[in-house]
Amino acid sequence: MLRYTIKRLLWMIPIVLGVSLIVFTILYFMPGDPVTMIAGASATDTEREALRASLGLDKSYLGQLGTFLGDTFLHFDLGNSYITKLDVAAELIYRLPRTLLLTVMCTVLSLVIGVPIGITAATHQNGFVDHLVMFGALLGVSIPSFWLSLLLVLLFSVKLDWLPAMGIGSIRHYILPAIAGSLGGIAMQARQTRSSMLEIIRSDFITTARAKGVKENMVIYKHALRNALIPIVTLTGTQFGVMLGGTMILETIFGIPGVGTYIITNGIGGRDLPIIRGGAVFLAIAFSFCMLLVDLVYAAVDPRIKAQFVTRRAKK
């Protein structure tokens, strides 16, 4: 396990560097000249050239890439915004807790609601409850979260006036975004739990447990659920990672000033390259660390994965 962990950790270095390289290269081709944007149309050519040199934009692609990677990984500096001149890394750290709170709320909701629903469906296989749950889950997967957000705002903020539609004043502000962001996750968890429970319920050891006279609730929650847990754990980790990188649209709709809004509104809206680049690299690195955790937990729970990894590397 230790060998696997170390190998997997070392593999993070090329991943993180590669992700930064890809994001940098894509954004290198972003249209529009930042110098014109910052200096304005009235600036003289000398002023422009001086500004271009001070931003490092006169260097070649490789020169700029080198500066970017060096600044990012040696000095943990993602540059300053072209427009507000503020430090991008500091802004991201400042906004991260809001994004993180929303992501955690969504993940917890999916897990706490999705798994019991999935178990109920599995234990009532092909019955009315099962069909109802499975249809509901399909519907849940199919509703786009941004449309659901608008519907929730319409019902709970505009019509009933129970919950705020925008902002981050209190925890109540996060209720609607969390519901909108987690419905798809709940549905996916329910489907995943149902199918892995159904697989386990048929195994011999469940029959044995029942034959020994173990109570049905114990059979389901202790014997079966424990063994059905691996895919659920994986899905939870993946959902957390995907949510972290995908809350932007939710944040924009609900006016939550998190990492996503920063990238979308300040970065893309203002064509502010350091914000987009820094934000994207930041989120991608956070996402790959989530995936690393999922892999490690997975390997710890399921010895087959570890074995597979070791033999594959040994062959080389």
Partner: protein, 289 residues
């Protein structure tokens, strides 16, 4: 000869899959709804009661009525006609982007799956890196660079699907590659191209069909999400996401405005998911519980 052929056909996997599919009511309903939407999109000029871009300021923001089935928007344009025409853009983008991404992924996947070795190892590690970037983020960044327009948006949307498709095809090819009939085609000196295109690809394709069906659904949502953040196709193009995005400004007094395009997206995604679920069960009986 003819007898032999008919026997072979009876057990053909295509027919078995179709029979399974038709037995599944949800899957049948799903594909019927989706095909109906495509027909409506193609026939939009005949079906739509109004020109989707014809403004009529006097009758702006009117609720649904007999004249305007889904009401009118802030410029007095007929929303029903706009949603109908919007199907052309939304469905078109979903189908094109998924096809493009799957094609690119399939080329990569089949090269890796067939040749294996160092090329395969390097490409797979590269895909690991690409997949370390969250999908939504990658699409938004690429769309920001490429700019707004139909083709630009399709390319941006297709990129997020390439890695997944490549991996999926490679995995199923690795399984098929070990089977006897591939060894047999090697032994009768089939060309590599022929083995890949005629033997490996058709036999490892079924998981791809399922993922492409679901892919169209998620791409339509992603396209709408792009318009929602100001990227993607721009107004006045009647794309569903862009209608929804404009409608959002009027939701307090005129809720019907954002209901129509949202419903259109949901029904499409739902029908594709129902069909995809059924297809997966039909193609892989092991998975069916």
């Amino acid at each position: 000869m003819s007898v032999k052929k008919s026997v072979k056909r009876k057990d053909g996997s295509f027919r078995r899959v179709m029979r399974q599919l038709l037995k599944n009511k949800a899957a049948t309903a799903g594909i019927i709804i989706f095909i109906a939407e495509i027909i409506l999109a193609v026939l939009a000029p005949l079906v739509a009661p109004y020109d989707p871009n014809e403004m009529d300021i006097i009758h702006k923001l009117q609720g649904p009525s007999i004249q305007h089935l889904m009401g009118t928007d802030d410029l007095g344009r007929d929303l029903f006609s706009r949603v109908l025409y919007g199907a052309r853009y939304s469905l078109g983008m979903g189908i094109c982007a998924t096809a493009l991404g799957s094609l690119a992924g399939m080329i990569i996947g089949s090269v890796c799956g067939y040749f294996g070795g160092k090329v395969d190892y390097l490409v797979m590690r590269f895909l690991d890196i690409v997949q370390a970037i969250p999908g939504t983020l990658l699409v938004i960044v690429v769309a920001a660079v490429l700019g707004t327009g139909f083709i630009e948006t399709v390319v941006a949307l297709s990129i997020s699907g390439i890695a997944g498709a490549a991996r999926l095809l490679r995995a199923s090819m690795l399984n098929v590659r070990q089977l006897e009939y591939i060894e047999a085609s090697h032994s009768i000196n089939c060309s590599k191209m022929r083995i890949i295109l005629h033997h490996l690809l058709p036999n490892s394709f079924s998981p791809m069909i399922v993922s492409m069906t679901m892919g169209i659904a998620s791409t339509i949502v992603a396209a709408a999400a792009l318009s929602f953040v100001g990227l993607g196709v721009q107004p006045p193009t009647p794309e569903w996401g862009s209608i929804l995005n404009t409608g959002r400004n009027f939701m307090r007094e005129h809720a019907y405005y954002m209901l129509a395009p949202g419903l259109a997206i949901m029904v499409t995604v739902l029908s594709l998911n129902m069909f995809g679920d059924g297809l997966r069960d039909a193609l892989d009986p092991k998975l069916k519980n």
